[in-house]
Symmetry: C2
Subunit: 684 residues, 2 copies
């Protein structure tokens, strides 16, 4: 093994960059970087293959810092190894518009694989990265061509270990026997409330063993570099289990406050910083110092990574001649472009086609497109038969030893683990060769809210197949009936919430979800049957909103989504016959996409002078943006057959007409402006 | 022990009621009740103390069915033991407005302790019930007066075991050494996707041992009643650890499809139901049959429970003379009424008082009221120093053996477990003697969304202390800055979202949160300092919205919350001086409470004829309800010092004024109607 003073100089350089950057920012977390620097040094410099000049080299080892608040560790390493993170960037740690924000964000900073900070997320992402690796290897590797054999390394702390999402992901990884995943647990006994003994006294190693992991313990992670190396080497040899290495460290190693909560989330005091520098043999009066030999050491390893990529490129060239189709396919996937002509496979419906639940329409889409889009990886959080997420001849992604699938399988059984599923999907998407789609009931997408937020923030093309989307699910009752859920996710930036009304709209939702490479989607789908609309087409629906029923001189516009669009169209006749009111109907399957249309188009859909009333069987919150009056459900639902539930809450042609009439009367003579007219634009 | 045919007749009666009710509803889950009936029979009839005639007897044993979809098990038992659940109610299982909805709801049905169904929630609730029991016992029991010594029993299934919230709660319970908690794990190897071997192969027993639980295994839960009894008896003897008893059962026991997924979520086929009845010695042609001797058996146990309550009442009478104050206190708590005059302790501020962060103002409230309200139990998900949730002389709720607190402690260290914390708080609230308040960052209340929803649905008085409520948290950056969060929870029925602007509003928020006995609250609080407003008072703020700055002939109303109210008031001068525009300012700390005010009041606050512009530094979604134009942040934030972040997004007097001016121009001459004028009322 042989570690020298130079290794310690490098380790201390990393530590002091964390000290200096947090001190300069007067904000941030020096403690974890100081404790983790030895383990990170061994991991990055002895084991990880990567090329800082091309952070996206496909077969690079992935590194995830799940305790993202320790990001100065990662920023320092990225800088020292020669990624596009300059010393100046380190000096702008936690400053506006820097590439070194308070927690690592993948789209900001070269070398950051996933966006972490919200605890437990990175851990789940790393399980997703490892799944994607195993699948990609199974699909593309050939004898003599081990194109894809990277490892995923993750560092996580006590906070991550406490989070339920990490438990879910760890159980999943153990089940899946992911030998390509190695996680280092920073066992430093400190969280924000102080000693972990105040809340966290479980046996973490035993817990991971229970999940089916290979577990080791490095007792002196502060000094014993050889033990760290030995443990990682051993973990790499374990091919049929993910590995957890508990590394006992001292938070804030070197600080006068080392081993205490005082060094967790606050910069060191100036005099403490000085004494640490002196202790480590650095000039206490200088800051942001990197000895040239440390750069040299790390650049040497970076050069080995560049050479590895070159060797890979040569191998891939040979592969390309022998397996041209596969090589082209891999290249295409990495470009994030879908195969030419795939969209012709999308099902198209005529008004005379039978009524269908949109969860079934979604199943039909998956059935029809899965061959054309081989990077689509479907799955469900234990609701396969309810979410209709599995195409008929799907193979499960499973460790072959279980006899119920294999690594090339494209259907993932996530178990009853919604949050874990979402965090894993973010990791799968981040790998670069797959598009994950995962199912649960819309109501339980809320369990995954922490990860859905990160799908959006980190620009992952992840598809949430969210069935049983309203009180229309019926008997399961209020505990399962979403009221607030669509408002929640419509308020989240960079995510599309689709609630299609029929077959063509469902196809449109998939079209947009699959072609939007940096935006996740939630598809809210019904359990109950929906008629095929007269005027729907994929082309209209991909505008997010369109006129589903037009009429001259309308008194009112009904703006609606999903299962209520058909009801609105039924109401048109009722309104005319019983009340002499002329109504037009707008279907608005995705407000976010409608918002992106030119204003002229928006005004065709929601014209000036006609009052608009929204009709959606859940919270009205947000519908004021697209309508003057709102008919919705601002209370919890009820358990019963769905038609009875709809009736109870007056979601019937009569109930809609009554309110539309009130709307027309309320705006009589007022010729209201279209709600799309605004005094000023929002910042984006 | 001695089990007879009568026991099996009772067990089979329970099974067949589940068969019949799901068959009649043509919906529901017969499998788990059929598999669990033996364990439930032993638990209810041999161990549990309860009085069906007074389901709220304080020292009753609590029962939680965490796999709530199995609720026909619970409804059948409630009926058979003589609770207010009639045979007719069973026949209306899953029908509109019945008291036997698709999943158990506490406020609907006598004998249901907590609302379950969303998996994992009940398990976490049971930990909360056990915590509340331990605390209440420590406070009220005296030598010779063991007033409070009930157990909490929970049944959970594979789905619950997979959910992260259950992992979090189990780790917490193990840490807290809750010997009063006994959980039966229905190990039936089946979830919706079929055999659990497709996704869930971990060693659950070992995992619970790792958490510090006492673990046993009943290998034949279908037949071995003696083993079930023995295990529960042994678990009761273990006083320093919670107990988990893995009970291996056959789902749908007796059905032709027993042991398969086919019997999980669908009624039995008619012929299968008949053969089960025949197999169990019942008439295959009859439904909803209860042999009189089964009623007799269970009513006998119920009578023992009634006698136990009577004995308790006698004991309490003696206790009342010896410990009058404590007895009165317990009686008062159970009435859910706060102590007389507590509200006089709420801090009141003058405009000249110094600026303070609302998280600090919240700390001051807790400091000032905690002695007056002894049922207030505070805590934090490992952010004590950031959430400011701990009063100075607080004692931690901890097992005494750890030496860092005791059972009478009123501060709970939840660890980094937001979802677990929320589920536990729901259980604490459900016990009836405590009001739980728990802290985390507002952004991470989203991790707990599943439980927050149930706080609201099940009418729990739970307080979420949600600090770091916006981009104003600064350097931690977009991963920690809420954008969608307030819209999310404002769309949720029966919850108050408070975002106070200063000290008086913070006191008002606590006043409403504490006095609303069946509504939870989220208090969104700042990290940064806020000035004390000129016109705020507790009395005004408890109306949800009020005029913070009034002026005659205003051109525009600025409607705002929290940290932006002060900014709006600063903007008034800017608007007047630079643009000649007269602005008034409305502070709207809680829209839900404002909605409940008389319309005349609402129109005073948001009058006709004046355009209103909302100002809140997060998603504008929903603000259209209270304003004509909206200034917000419909994108993710940025990492940097908070003043820089506010400036970047133009949340400055200049940025506000620019948009207010655009609003005034847009509505020039239009005299718009107040947004509180609506064409029709929403259903409630």
């Amino acid at each position: 093994m042989g570690y020298s003073d130079l290794d310690w100089k490098a380790i201390n350089t990393v530590r002091l960059l964390a000290v200096d950057a947090t001190l300069k920012a007067n904000s941030g977390h020096p403690g974890a970087p100081m404790g983790l620097a030895p383990a990170a040094h061994v991991l990055w410099n002895k084991f990880m293959t990567f090329n800082p000049k091309n952070p996206l080299f496909i077969n690079r080892d992935r590194f995830v810092l799940s305790n993202g608040h320790a990001c100065m560790l990662q920023y320092a390493l990225l800088h020292l190894f020669g990624y596009g993170v300059s010393m100046d960037d380190l000096k702008h740690f936690r400053q506006i518009d820097s590439i070194t924000p308070g927690h690592p964000e993948t789209h900001d900073t070269p070398g950051i694989e996933v966006t972490t900070g919200p605890l437990g997320q990175g851990f789940a992402n790393s399980v997703g990265l490892a799944i994607a690796q195993a699948h990609t290897a199974a699909v593309f590797n050939k004898p003599g061509y081990e194109l894809i054999n990277n490892y995923t390394y993750c560092i996580f702390g006590d906070g991550c270990a406490m989070e339920g999402i990490a438990s879910e992901a760890a159980s999943t990884a153990g089940h899946l026997q992911l030998g390509n995943l190695i996680c280092l647990y920073d066992d430093n006994h400190i969280s924000i409330d102080g000693d972990t003994k105040c809340a966290f006294t479980e046996d973490v190693s035993k817990r991971f063993e229970a999940y089916g992991w290979h577990v080791q313990h490095v007792k002196d992670g502060d000094h014993d570099l050889a033990a760290i190396e030995e443990a990682i080497a051993k973990a790499k040899e374990v091919k049929d289990k993910p590995s957890m290495i508990k590394v006992t460290t001292t938070i804030g190693f070197g600080s006068k406050l080392q081993g205490t909560g005082g060094v967790h989330g606050n910069p060191l005091k100036a005099d403490d910083a000085k004494q640490v520098k002196a202790k480590f043999g650095f000039n206490p009066e200088e800051s942001f110092v990197v000895p040239q030999e440390v750069y040299d050491l790390y650049h040497k390893h970076a050069a080995e990574g560049a050479a590895a990529e070159e060797a890979w490129n040569s191998l891939f060239k040979k592969y390309s001649s022998e397996y041209k189709e596969l090589a082209d396919e891999l290249t295409r996937r990495l470009s994030r472009k879908l195969p030419e002509g795939w969209e012709k496979k999308l099902p198209v419906y005529k008004p005379t086609d039978p009524a269908e639940a949109s969860r079934k329409l979604s199943e039909k889409v998956l059935e029809d497109i899965h061959e054309a889009i081989p990077e689509l990886l479907s799955g469900s959080a234990d609701l396969t038969g309810s979410n209709n997420t599995r195409w008929k001849n799907a193979v499960d992604f499973q460790p072959p030893s279980l006899g119920i699938g294999d690594w090339s399988g494209r259907y993932l059984r996530y178990g009853v683990r919604e949050h874990g599923m979402a965090g894993i999907m973010n990791g799968i998407s981040a790998y670069g060769t797959l598009i994950p789609a995962g199912g649960t009931f819309l109501n339980f997408v809320s369990y995954a809210a922490g990860s859905v937020r990160l799908s959006a923030l980190s620009h992952q093309r992840v598809i949430y197949i969210a069935t049983h989307d309203s009180i229309g699910l019926g008997e399961d009752g209020p505990t399962h009936q979403p009221i607030e859920t669509l408002a929640h996710f419509r308020a989240l930036p960079n995510i599309m919430v689709w609630r299609p009304a029929d077959g063509n709209e469902t196809s449109a939702a998939y079209y947009m979800a699959l072609t939007s490479t940096s935006t996740p989607s939630i598809l809210a789908l019904t359990r109950q049957n929906l008629p095929q609309l007269e005027n729907s087409t994929i082309e209209k629906a991909i505008k997010g909103g369109y006129v589903a029923y037009e009429v001259e001189n309308a008194d009112v516009t009904l703006v609606s989504t999903g299962s209520e669009v058909g009801l609105c169209i039924e109401s048109v006749k009722e309104l005319k016959d019983k009340h002499g009111i002329t109504a037009r109907v707008v279907s608005m399957p995705c407000t976010e996409v409608f918002d992106a249309q030119p204003k002229e188009y928006q005004l065709q859909v929601l014209p000036d002078g006609i009052p608009a009333m929204s009709v959606e069987v859940m919270s009205t919150l947000g519908w004021e943006k697209y309508s003057h009056e709102q008919f919705g459900l601002n209370r919890f639902g009820a358990s019963g057959p769905y038609k009875d539930v709809y009736k109870k809450f007056e979601f019937t042609p009569e109930g809609i007409s009554k309110r539309a009439k009130a709307t027309v009367e309320f705006y009589k003579g007022l010729k209201p402006r279209s709600p799309v007219n605004r005094a000023f634009q929002q910042l984006i």
